[in-house]
């Protein structure tokens, strides 16, 4: 059964600020068959590629990443904002449109891993995912690919991910 994932994504005008059109995945997420199809579609791309772990940033990256990990029968490693992870962490800072932000990963999270899949819900300018990838590489681990539900192609985020294989299920 083919499901049109694009039709499951809701447009919200002027969110989070005037002039921005927000692509809302909650309408895809609440549709059981669409959610299953989306996760399976990402997993199928990477199923025989030796992925040992899935890594993803909070909070929406948790939705996709933990579920893809489940389908691939591997574990999931969360990347979080400072102060959220309880054990020793590696921190990376990155630039936002206004100011900067930081992300952390547990220092021991990828021990014993050599190949991971990095996942988030949406590729916009790519700042968050680039920071996530930098943390993974600083831990000395290889990246099989980077997968998203949605890519906003007009924001050019793929330019930040030239060194990686990028998968996006729906492109706007």
């Amino acid at each position: 059964m083919e499901i049109d994932l694009r039709s499951k994504i809701r447009d919200i005008p002027d969110f989070p600020k005037p002039g921005v059109r927000f692509r809302d995945i909650t309408t895809l997420l609440r549709d059981g068959p669409a959610w299953r199809h989306a996760i399976k579609s990402i997993a199928d791309v990477y199923r025989d590629r030796g992925v040992e772990m899935v890594v993803g940033p909070e909070a929406r990256g948790f939705l996709v990443g933990a579920t893809v990990a489940y389908e691939l029968r591997v574990g999931f490693v969360p990347v979080r904002r400072p102060g959220k992870l309880p054990a020793r962490t590696l921190r990376g800072e990155y630039v936002l449109e206004y100011g900067q932000d930081a992300l952390e990963i547990h220092l021991d999270a990828l021990e014993g891993c050599s190949k991971v899949l990095v996942v988030d819900d949406l590729l916009a300018t790519g700042g968050t995912i680039k920071a996530t990838l930098d943390l993974v590489r600083q831990l000395g681990v290889g990246v099989v690919g980077v997968a998203f539900l949605i890519e906003l192609t007009y924001l050019g985020g793929r330019e930040n991910l030239k060194d990686y294989e990028v998968t996006a299920l729906v492109r706007f």
Copy 2:
């Protein structure tokens, strides 16, 4: 194969503040077979109970909730902090140890649903999950059960959930 989930949970002393022992689920989450076993164990309890949707609060509730929804072949509805959900929301406030906080759910998220499963990673005092349950009930939807990976029994959170069937995989 029986997996001892308790042994997969890591103790972090003095986090987030001195004297608190934090139960860290990231060590369970990064273990593929343990993660699979945990999710299946929750799903098995509710598999033939007519669950039409899973609901869970951010951020760690997303990990468990979205994956349980996937296994149950239903959708997932996120409950988030104010300002995160893009469409019209219902807001509920709740009391924390110091001050108060609020959670939101999309007003239309449970349209057409009559029975849901509510999920989070950990039951402590129960404030967050009670606020989540109140939002679901205000939307006129029934709750089949409330499920957690971990319950901290000494905090008495179950007292806040007397009206509900509570499942916890590991109890401390």
